[in-house]
Subunit: 161 residues, 2 copies
């Protein structure tokens, strides 16, 4: 009965984990369907349980969406078809200083970029991390419901693009 808040972290008990996987996967599919219905959007959800079982959902179909993904460059909020004019500047100017810091650290001349972050010193990684945290709090602290209680690992995980 959800009498308490469930921590967002790995579930150790297998039985619970599978139950949760099934329920949440179904919920995910359902929400995806609603999104597509209400917004005339196309979407696909591909899932693989820890056990390796695969479950897919797609509208109009998994295949069409995946193909569409494969077709174009996958840059989030960037696949600008320009149909609606300029609409992505996302975070935009709300970040400033921290952003500069990141650019400064990661930038190090785009030339160095090719070597990844290997060349960054530890303290620089700290700075980078802090800068990102700062941006996050500005960009939308609420999205991360764990901010206040930065203790245990309730955090989530982000996926990649």
């Amino acid at each position: 009965m959800v009498r308490r808040r469930v921590e967002i972290k790995k579930i150790e008990e297998k039985s619970r984990m599978y139950t949760t996987f099934t329920k949440r996967r179904q919920g995910l599919f359902k929400k995806t369907k609603v999104l597509c219905t209400m917004c005339e959007a196309e979407a696909a959800v591909l899932t693989f349980s820890k056990a390796g079982n695969a479950f897919f959902f797609g509208h109009p179909s998994v295949e069409s969406v995946v193909n569409r993904y494969a077709a174009g460059p996958s840059s989030p909020a960037s696949t600008n078809t320009g149909i609606e004019g300029n609409e992505h500047e996302v975070v935009a100017a709300s970040i400033s200083e921290a952003e500069k810091k990141i650019v400064e650290l990661m930038g190090k001349g785009r030339a160095a970029w090719d070597n990844g972050v290997r060349n960054l010193e530890l303290f620089e990684l700290d700075e980078l991390e802090s800068a990102i945290q700062k941006i996050k709090s500005k960009v939308g602290a609420q999205a991360a419901e764990t901010i206040s209680n930065g203790e245990d690992q309730k955090a989530e995980f982000c996926g990649t693009d």
Copy 2:
């Protein structure tokens, strides 16, 4: 304020439709992330707004999940990675992975780099942060303090692994 139940059908007003698309898409990404975190699952969500803008999310990465899907419905879980037995290799692999994420997120094609992190969304920032933390821990050191002027630092931590 959701004073009444919203009908699950196509939204006619464009402005409302886009707002809904954005909110629900973010919610979908968030739930996907939670699912992956709690159930050690892999998943990807591919979305295309009516306008044609694309937004993707995936764990461990959109690409890996899509590839797994493409590999075939019977693709056995290749969940167990890095059973190298050699710690160095494992660590190296981990770093590479995190590094790869950073490249994916920040790189987005060096072209996008010029726009800094402006185009990154909260979820992506979370991931970027996680990747950095991962590298830090691997590199072998603990965070020190934040950037000099730690003013409003409420940061939240995302444990990547």
